[in-house]
């Protein structure tokens, strides 16, 4: 191993340490209440050192989010690759997402702050990172949806729109679970959701009445791939 590499690794390790401390402190106090000094103290390094690795607090915040999203994407992708049968693949993805949400529940308020920050910030990196992550997950979802359609499990709903819808729904359920003080099982909520979406709520008779209307919507979707 070259000296160069060794030095790079040391640098990466320290950077990692700072990000981990930042996650801890941000998670505990929130972005605004968390002081750089707190993060430095927790990492047992000097405040100045933090600024050797990140030039602003915002940048550090972005790094924290990046780390989570990388991890989430990696877990979801790995989970998808472990299955060929689309039905079990879909189940596995949902399971993985729930696991991730549950282990990161304490950081939910950071997620909210991050989104709020992204919506307001001049710096487009924040929003870009969010959208990039969504795109990756949506691709995964779209692929699974198409597979489910090809084995005749799902009707020919617009796969792109459906996978986007799923992303929104997932976030919504997670958020609600957090705001409800985790008063119920997140897994139960997801299972319930899955059943509703899979089987639908209409009675057979009513479904027949509504069939034209719903078919149109399901085919049309709402989301178009941006050019």
């Amino acid at each position: 191993m070259s000296k160069q590499q060794e030095s790079n690794e040391r640098r990466d390790a320290k950077r990692e340490l700072i990000v981990k401390s930042a996650i801890h402190i941000f998670g505990q106090k929130g972005f605004h209440a968390a002081k750089i000094q707190d993060i430095a103290d927790f990492a047992s390094i000097g405040k100045g050192t933090v600024y050797e690795y990140f030039s602003t607090k915002d940048e550090l915040f972005l790094a924290v989010y990046d780390k989570w999203m990388d991890e989430f994407e990696a877990q979801m992708t790995a989970s998808a690759e472990q299955h060929t049968n689309p039905v079990s693949k879909a189940d596995a993805l949902i399971d993985t997402a729930i696991d991730f949400y549950e282990t990161h529940a304490q950081y939910a308020s950071i997620l909210l702050e991050f989104w709020a920050h992204a919506l307001r910030s001049e710096d487009t990196h924040f929003l870009e990172r969010i959208r990039e992550m969504k795109q990756t997950l949506a691709n995964l979802g779209e692929q699974v949806t198409r597979q489910l359609q090809s084995v005749k499990a799902f009707t020919d709903v617009d796969a792109v729109s459906f996978s986007r819808l799923e992303l929104g729904i997932s976030d919504g359920i997670f958020l609600q679970w957090i705001l409800d003080g985790k008063a119920y099982s997140l897994r139960d909520a997801y299972k319930f959701r899955q059943s509703v979406i899979g089987a639908g709520l209409m009675t057979p008779a009513f479904r027949k009445v509504m069939s034209l209307k719903t078919k149109k919507h399901l085919k049309k979707g709402f989301w178009k791939r941006p050019e």
Copy 2:
């Protein structure tokens, strides 16, 4: 009209003015970046006067949220009362929600900040207000769901859980729409959601295979009324 009443009205009017200014400034800059001075300037009053009506910035923030939620609840309730037919009532509620979301889109980041704030704050008022609002809407949803069931439009899914699920989904779709930069029609997204949830995605054959599993979940639900 007594002098007393007149004075109270003047006070209420000024309070209202401050809250309105706060909405404007908070919406523009976010909770942390918004200065009390900004709000006072916008209302054309002195900074000290703001503190005659609200003893802390937090209290003012809560008042802003309160005003929105009162308005939202009122609109939803009014909307529900205008229909007796449950199918059109459900449509009307969704329409009203979309209208509200669309007109308040610019304040989405405040909503996120508020939630983050609520999750972290020592003061339980924030979370309580959120839950109170959710409860009101969930009751409305539950009622409509039961009506839909009584006219044999919906299967006998657990109405309490389903209305909760709907709340989570609604927020999720709204949030995603915002984060996606309002790149599509919110109404289309809701219509799509409605069709998916109504008709379900499974093919008839697959539905038959899964029927036992889904039935169990739909019946059981995930949300129990707290005692």
